[in-house]
């Protein structure tokens, strides 16, 4: 009886998930659909006469964009960690005077709309000649993740037991040494989580790319898709194939860091 009920709930859950993920399925379905079936009515619900021509076109034309996005994503991760990890260590363990104010500023910084940052960056980059550069995009994209990274890492690092640090101190390790040999290795999981988020946000960024990098030779995949939609709106299987490829980091994040993702979403929203 209870067993049947539990399976019943699973069935409802499967249906709900199916409804929720229908757009994702549809993206995949369209990516395999042949050009001539694209405007068929009613549409084909399954890619029975599937084709890989969309993926072939996508890889043919979008590979450079994917490469740029990869570089920008990794650069953003590096810059974010460089700034955020020491700061989090300090806020969590060294109790700086004014640390509370700094945390407050970071919380506020997270709420500033990207489009406003983009306009300020545009004015600055124009003057220093950083428009349409990969470096400029990395700098701008890192602002999406840096405050979040500091706040999350601080929370995780606060949980590291004091005894561990005291033991290091007794062994003669200084603050820097403690940071490098104790804090960073112990916080490995949270650092990976932050890195994955920073990568995903840089990879997904459209606002900064479309304002600070719209004329450059090195454009990320978000602009690749955007131009695709604008230019050849007939070839939707190629557009959706690119979208599927662009979703790979999302899938990786979900598989590798599933439980941290939930923690990342709730961080700062709910008191523990």
């Amino acid at each position: 009886m209870t067993d049947a009920r539990r399976w019943g709930k699973t069935a409802i859950g499967l249906v709900l998930t199916g409804v929720m993920l229908f757009p994702v399925y549809w993206m995949i379905n369209v990516s395999f659909t042949r050009e001539q079936d694209m405007r068929k009515s009613p549409p084909s619900w399954f890619p029975v006469k599937g084709t890989l021509e969309g993926y072939r076109a996508a890889l043919d034309q979008q590979l450079p964009y994917l490469g740029i996005s990869l570089v920008v994503g990794l650069g953003t991760v590096a810059l974010t960690l460089l700034v955020a990890t020491p700061a989090a260590y300090s806020l969590a363990k060294l109790r700086p005077r004014g640390g509370g104010t700094l945390s407050f500023v970071l919380l506020i910084a997270q709420m500033i709309p990207g489009i406003i940052m983009a306009m300020g960056f545009y004015a600055i980059f124009l003057n220093v000649g950083m428009l349409n550069t990969v470096t400029g995009l990395i700098v701008a994209d890192s602002t999406l993740a840096a405050p979040f990274a500091v706040l999350i890492l601080t929370t995780f690092m606060s949980g590291i037991p004091e005894e561990l640090m005291q033991a290091a101190r007794v062994d003669g390790a200084g603050t820097v040494r403690t940071f490098w040999s104790i804090i960073v290795p112990v916080s490995r999981n949270s650092i990976i989580t932050v890195s994955l988020f920073a990568f995903l946000w840089a990879w997904s960024d459209f606002v900064f790319a479309s304002t600070l990098d719209q004329g450059g030779a090195f454009q990320p995949i978000t602009l690749g898709i955007y131009h695709y939609i604008g230019n050849n709106n007939q070839q939707w299987n190629a557009i959706m194939a690119t979208a599927v490829i662009a979703s790979i980091p999302t899938a990786v994040l979900l598989v590798i860091a599933q439980r941290y993702v939930a923690a990342g979403v709730t961080a700062g929203a709910v008191k523990s």
């Binding site: 499967l14 929720m20 994702v24 940052m117």
Partner: protein, 321 residues
């Protein structure tokens, strides 16, 4: 998570770390402060250069009369609040404000309701519940360009799957993205879809924090189903709900990608919000109007920060209680 927002305890009665060499051995606590701020230095510099400076430039843009030439040369005349006056008097202002309000409030209402219903559903574990809950995160984690372009194609008037389904029920095709009557609703639907996972996850963790004994007590008192939800669960969930809605509000006010990719704020401005208006002024035309664009952007910041501060206040009150 409340540690993040609370001021750390004073550092006086704490053994000082040994960094900073022996020079400051006499004043140990102060050497601790030096080390602490040395570790904070990168983020402080970062915030000043990559947050404060762009924001300052943005304010400056909004207070001067910029043309393309003076934008490059940097000698635009100071015009005070002329850009703000221009924006407030613009015919787009009223509709943009209205669209922003509708988009935000309708999105929040549906995201929250659906998120809460799903959180209640997932609360009692069943087979596969963890996997399905994880799958529900997908819309929130997908790059916005991916979800927006997928929804664009689904909403296509002639070949979109939405109209195909509606047609199967005998409905006339709807011009989702190309009719001024529907464009705002289309982008709102897409945005609701993207925001449900966030609400689900936060509300789910809020529900989990409620002591099951309370529910058992309510059940013993004869409260069942709906009654139990409204009289017991919902009031207990109110703090988490407030935080979820406020944070959602701040996030939704700044939504730009979805609207711009799906409709570019059109047709004829029918889905223009402050975010897309600001972008269109600054970047969307051949002749950029940076001054007014920045002015609209700053109005948006004021709105976001207002609700952001309310959010922080509510959250702090909760962590203290």
């Amino acid at each position: 998570m409340n540690r993040v927002t609370q001021a750390p305890a004073p550092a006086a009665d704490r053994p000082a770390p040994a960094a900073g060499g022996g020079r400051r051995a006499a004043s140990r606590p102060r050497s601790g402060q030096w080390a602490a701020w040395a570790f904070l230095a990168p983020v402080v510099v970062y915030l000043l250069v990559f947050y404060a400076y762009p924001l300052y430039r943005n304010v400056e843009l909004s207070l001067r009369h910029y043309t393309v030439r003076s934008f490059v040369q940097g000698d635009a005349p100071f015009t005070g609040f002329a850009n703000y006056a221009e924006v407030l008097g613009d015919a787009t202002f009223g509709p943009a404000l209205w669209h922003t309000a509708v988009f935000t409030l309708v999105s929040l209402a549906f995201q929250f309701t659906i998120g809460l219903a799903l959180a209640m559903f997932f609360l009692k574990n069943f087979r596969l519940s963890a996997v399905l809950r994880a799958l529900f995160l997908v819309p929130w984690l997908l790059p916005l360009i991916v979800s927006s372009s997928t929804w664009s194609w689904m909403f296509n008037s002639d070949s979109g799957v939405v109209n195909a389904v509606l047609g199967a029920f005998g409905a006339e095709p709807v011009h989702w993205l190309t009719s001024p009557d529907w464009s705002l609703w289309s982008v709102t639907i897409a945005n609701i879809w993207i925001g449900v996972p966030f609400n689900l996850v936060v509300l789910y963790s809020g529900l989990q924090a409620i002591d099951p004994a309370i529910h058992e007590a309510a059940a013993l008192d004869g409260a069942a189903g709906w009654q139990r939800f409204w009289k017991v669960t919902f009031p207990l969930l109110r703090p988490v709900s407030a935080v979820t809605l406020l944070l959602g509000l701040v996030y939704t006010l700044k939504v730009f990608d979805i609207i711009w990719i799906m409709t570019r704020g059109g047709p004829s401005g029918s889905s223009t919000t402050f975010a897309t208006w600001s972008y269109r002024l600054g970047f969307g035309n051949l002749l950029p109007a940076f001054g007014p664009g920045a002015a609209v952007g700053n109005l948006l910041i004021v709105m976001a920060l207002f609700f952001g501060l309310v959010y922080i206040r509510v959250q702090r009150k909760q962590s203290l209680s």
